[in-house]
């Protein structure tokens, strides 16, 4: 296929038929269709601010081909925040812990944290740091982000002290 063509996918629980081009990244595709919570940071796979769930797995949308998402399911932080209990808890914990300063990294951080906890991640600070190691934050120094995820992990009773 060349030029502009349509792909079918589910975004935040809604069926969508939307145009893309062969080489477009999932990041640009989502932002062009008004999913502004997916942030464009480095656009080369380093910063994690564009993270989304693709068929339940956390990926960096800037290094994901939009056309290859035909028939697949995408969730962004905003959509998850409306429907998913774990994401709601993480979002509240980020606010309570002061884990947000400028907020640019937050949506990606929540996706990485949700993925970690869903994979059975424990309330373990070094493992949480590893889980968010592909997500850069230039404000907080990470301590409060780790606090927030740690708190939710403890609450989930998935381990810890």
């Amino acid at each position: 296929m060349s030029g502009t063509f349509e792909i079918n996918l589910r975004i935040n629980g809604q069926e969508a038929v939307l145009p893309t081009t062969a080489e477009k990244s999932l990041l640009r595709f989502l932002r062009e269709h008004n999913y502004w919570d997916v942030k464009c940071g480095c656009e080369e796979g380093d910063c994690g601010s564009c993270a989304v769930l693709l068929d339940g797995r956390a990926v960096k949308s800037c290094i994901t081909l939009a056309a290859a998402c035909n028939g697949r399911e995408i969730w962004t932080n905003r959509g998850l925040g409306r429907t998913d209990e774990l994401t709601k808890k993480l979002q509240a914990a980020f606010v309570e812990s002061g884990a947000i300063q400028c907020g640019f990294c937050t949506c990606g951080m929540i996706i990485a944290a949700k993925h970690y906890l869903e994979q059975g991640g424990k309330a373990d600070r070094s493992q949480i740091k590893e889980a968010i190691s592909g997500n850069l934050c230039r404000c907080t120094g990470y301590v409060k982000i780790v606090d927030a995820v740690y708190g939710v992990a403890l609450e989930m009773g998935t381990g810890g002290i």
Partner: protein, 285 residues
């Protein structure tokens, strides 16, 4: 002006047919392709999506005792594999240290090898394990030892129209991988080393394979280093010293923004020592 076409290949025959066209460019996880597209390194190509070839997204212990990993297997699957943790710790450790957890969900082992970066993290362990590649084109399949696959930076022995289907090796629990990077995640390595070892009952090294990444134009086997150790007593400090000198003949590092060539030489010796000791510790020495 970017100019690309897109083809979704739902199965192997359609992938090989699409790949037979001269402008075809395979996309699996997309972690290299999207970066190269944005940087303008590739253009006027037909992107061939092969993510539908799910039969190559698996890790299998075969009846002949060999482990086969399909080219489309994500690095995160390697890092979650109990089979690899037990039977091929070198590859398991490389997967656990690969980029970051999110990138590991997308990046595939076939893509990591076919991209032929000198810093490809899965290459040294697979070289040390003496892995073999299964390649396919419209004209059939062939096998190729991995050490004959890497020809230069970004250059492989793949002929036009050919793709990597799987990688296969004999398990070796006495294998290890070490990575030196500037930080613990998302770091392109300064030096990586992988070792695979077999000892006899007297503690003599019967077979020793050593491979490096980021110290030459391709990931490489350190044959001089291997020779210095084979047939000697395991962990003999004199032999380790000879190993560290011998690997200097195997490597050809450059200065770049991550490290100088001199530092890489020094650290290749250090990692060679740690890799062999770490591989052998599993033997109960």
């Amino acid at each position: 002006m970017k100019n690309f076409n897109y083809i979704n290949a739902p199965d192997l025959p359609s992938a090989l047919e699409a790949l037979a066209k001269p402008d075809a460019y395979l996309v699996a996880g997309g972690t290299n392709a999207l970066v190269d597209i944005r940087a303008g390194k590739i253009n006027d190509r037909t992107l061939v999506n092969i993510q539908g070839l799910t039969e190559f997204d698996r890790i299998t212990l075969q009846e002949n005792g060999r482990i086969q990993i399909g080219a489309l297997t994500a690095i995160s699957k390697l890092a979650a594999s109990d089979l690899l943790a037990e039977k091929a710790p070198a590859l398991y450790q490389a997967a656990c240290n690969f980029a970051d957890p999110l990138t590991r969900n997308s990046a595939t082992i076939g893509g990591n090898l076919a991209n032929a970066s000198p810093a490809a993290d899965t290459a040294p362990p697979l070289l040390a394990l003496d892995a073999e590649l299964l390649l396919a084109s419209r004209f059939g399949e062939r096998r190729l030892p991995l050490q004959e696959f890497f020809l230069g930076v970004g250059k492989t022995a793949l002929v036009p129209g050919e793709m990597v289907l799987a990688v296969e090796f004999m398990p070796n629990s006495f294998s290890s991988f070490l990575k030196l990077g500037l930080r613990q995640a998302m770091a392109i390595s300064i030096v990586t080393a992988a070792a695979a070892l077999s000892l006899d009952k007297e503690g003599i090294v019967r077979e020793f394979h050593l491979a490096f990444g980021s110290v030459g134009p391709t990931p490489l086997r350190a044959y001089n280093g291997e020779k210095a150790v084979t047939g000697t007593e395991f962990a003999d400090p004199e032999v380790i010293k000879q190993l560290q000198e011998a690997v200097q003949l195997d490597i050809n590092p450059i200065d770049d923004l991550r490290a100088g060539a001199g530092y890489r030489r020094e650290m290749a010796g250090v990692l060679a020592k740690r890799a062999i000791l770490s591989a052998g510790r599993e033997v109960g020495q």
